[in-house]
C-alpha cells in the first residue's frame, strides 16, 4: 500500500479520533494555543503599532527590531522559552514574541500610509488626535493593519507545530512522534492537518478583510498594489 492510501487509512481509523492523542484533542490544542497567542500579540502589538504610527515617533526602532527578529530562527525562540515551563507555556510565550513584530510593523505602516490630505481635512473638521486616529487613520489603514494580524496568525498556526519538540501538544505531535517512530502515515497525516489549518486560517482572514474593509478602499487597493500582505510574512 502506498503512502497516500496508508495516510487515508490512518486518518479514517476510528482509534485515531479518540483519547488524549486523538485528532479532535490535538486539533483543539493547536487552535487553543494559536488563538491565545494571536490575541495576546494583538493586545500588545496593536496599541504599540498604532501609537508609533500616529505619533510618528520610534518608527526606525520598530522596523529595526522586526528585521532583526526575522533573523532569529523560530525554533531557537521556542527552545529559549523552555525555562519558562515545558510544552504549552514555552510555546505560548514564543508564539506571542513571534507574532508581535508583523502586527506592530503593519499597524505602523498602515497608519503612515494614510493620505496626509485626509488627515488635514479631518483636523480641519475639528477632530482631535484620538478621533483622527480612531475615525480616520484606523479605518483607512485597516487593510494593512489586518494584513499584519493575518500574517501573524498564519505564522503562529505554522510555528505552533514546532511546540511538539518541547513536549507541547497540538498537531505537531503527530509529525514529531511519527519521525521518532518512523511511522510515515502518522507523519503525513499530521502534516496534512497542519497545512489544512494554516490554509484555512489564511482564507478566514481574507474573508474577514473583505467584510471589515470599506468598499471604497478595496477598489483603490485592487487598482494599486495589493500584495504587501505577504511582504512581511515569513514561512515558519
Amino acid at each position: 500500500m502506498d503512502v497516500i492510501s496508508q495516510t487515508i487509512a490512518w486518518l479514517t481509523d476510528q482509534a485515531h479520533w479518540q483519547g488524549s492523542d486523538g485528532i479532535p484533542i490535538r486539533l483543539l490544542e493547536h487552535i487553543e494555543l494559536s488563538v491565545a497567542a494571536v490575541l495576546l500579540a494583538v493586545l500588545i502589538g496593536l496599541p504599540l503599532g498604532l501609537a508609533v504610527g500616529h505619533t510618528g515617533r520610534g518608527g526606525a526602532i520598530v522596523m529595526t527590531i522586526s528585521n532583526l527578529g526575522r533573523a532569529i530562527p523560530s525554533l531557537a525562540i521556542i527552545i529559549a522559552c523552555v525555562p519558562l515551563g515545558l510544552g504549552f507555556r514555552a510555546t505560548l510565550v514564543a508564539l506571542v514574541l513571534l507574532a508581535i513584530p508583523p502586527i506592530v510593523t503593519n499597524a505602523y505602516a498602515g497608519i503612515r500610509e494614510v493620505d496626509r490630505d485626509l488627515l488635514e481635512a479631518a483636523r480641519g473638521m475639528g477632530l482631535g488626535g484620538r478621533q483622527v486616529l480612531l475615525r480616520v487613520e484606523v479605518p483607512a489603514g485597516l487593510p494593512v493593519i489586518l494584513a499584519g494580524i493575518r500574517t501573524s496568525a498564519v505564522q503562529v498556526v505554522a510555528t505552533a507545530t514546532l511546540g511538539a519538540i518541547v513536549a507541547g501538544g497540538g498537531l505537531g505531535r503527530y509529525i514529531v512522534d511519527g519521525f521518532a517512530l518512523r511511522d510515515s502515515p502518522r507523519i503525513v497525516a499530521g502534516a496534512v492537518l497542519v497545512a489544512g489549518l494554516a490554509i484555512l486560517t489564511e482564507l478566514a482572514f481574507a474573508l474577514l478583510e473583505r467584510v471589515a474593509v470599506s468598499p471604497g478602499l478595496r477598489l483603490e487597493r485592487r487598482a494599486g498594489q495589493g500584495l504587501e500582505a505577504s511582504e512581511a510574512r515569513q514561512p515558519a
Binding site: V3, P73, I79, A158, T161, A191, P235
Partner: protein
Amino acid sequence: MIDVGWIAGHLGTIGGSAWEHVVLTVVAVGVGFAISLVLGLLASRLRWTYGPITAVTGLMYTIPSLALFAILVPYTGFSLLTAEIGLVSYTLLIITRNIVVGVDGVAPEIREAAAAMGLTRRQQLLRVELPLAVPVIMAGVRVATVTTIGLVTVTALIGQGGLGQQILLGYQLQFPTRFFVGVVGSVILAVGADLGLLRLQRWLTPWERAKVG
C-alpha cells in the same frame, strides 16, 4: 553559562555546521532564483499566468515548513533533497513577485527609448528591463535569503540543519553553549548575508550609487 572551552575545542564541528548551513542556503536560494526568474519572466510576458503562479507559490508559502518536510519524508527520506525541496519552495513567492514588480516598474519612456534604439524584445529585457529592476529583485532575494537561513534550522529535525543541529542538540543534551552557538551563528549568517547582498546590489547598479552620492 557559556562554556568557552567547549567552543574553543570544537571550532571544527561549529565550522562544519556553519558551512553546511551556508551550502543549504546557497543551493536553495540559487535554485529558487533560477526557477523564479523563469516564472517571473513568464508572468511578465504572459500576464494571465501571474495569477495562477502567485496562487501556487503562495500556497507553498503558507504550508508550515515542518509539515512540508514531513510530507516529503516518506518519498525522499531524511535527506538533503527533502530539505532543499522545502527550502526552495519557500523562496519562489517572494523572488517571483519582486521580479514581476521590478520589471513592471520600468518607466514606459525607457522602454520606448530602448525600442527606438533598435533593441530587440530580448535585448530590451536583458539589457534594460532586468538591470533596472535589480534593486527590487535584490530586495526579494535578501528577504528570501534571510528567511531561508532561519528555515534551515528546522531541517535539523530531518537530519540536516547546519547550525540548527547545534540548536537542537543543545536542547536535547541540555547544553546551553551549543544552543547559543547555533543561534548566534545563524543570526550572524543572516545579517552577514543581508549586508553582502546589499553590497552586491550596489555593485550591480552603479547608476544608483551616482544618484545618491
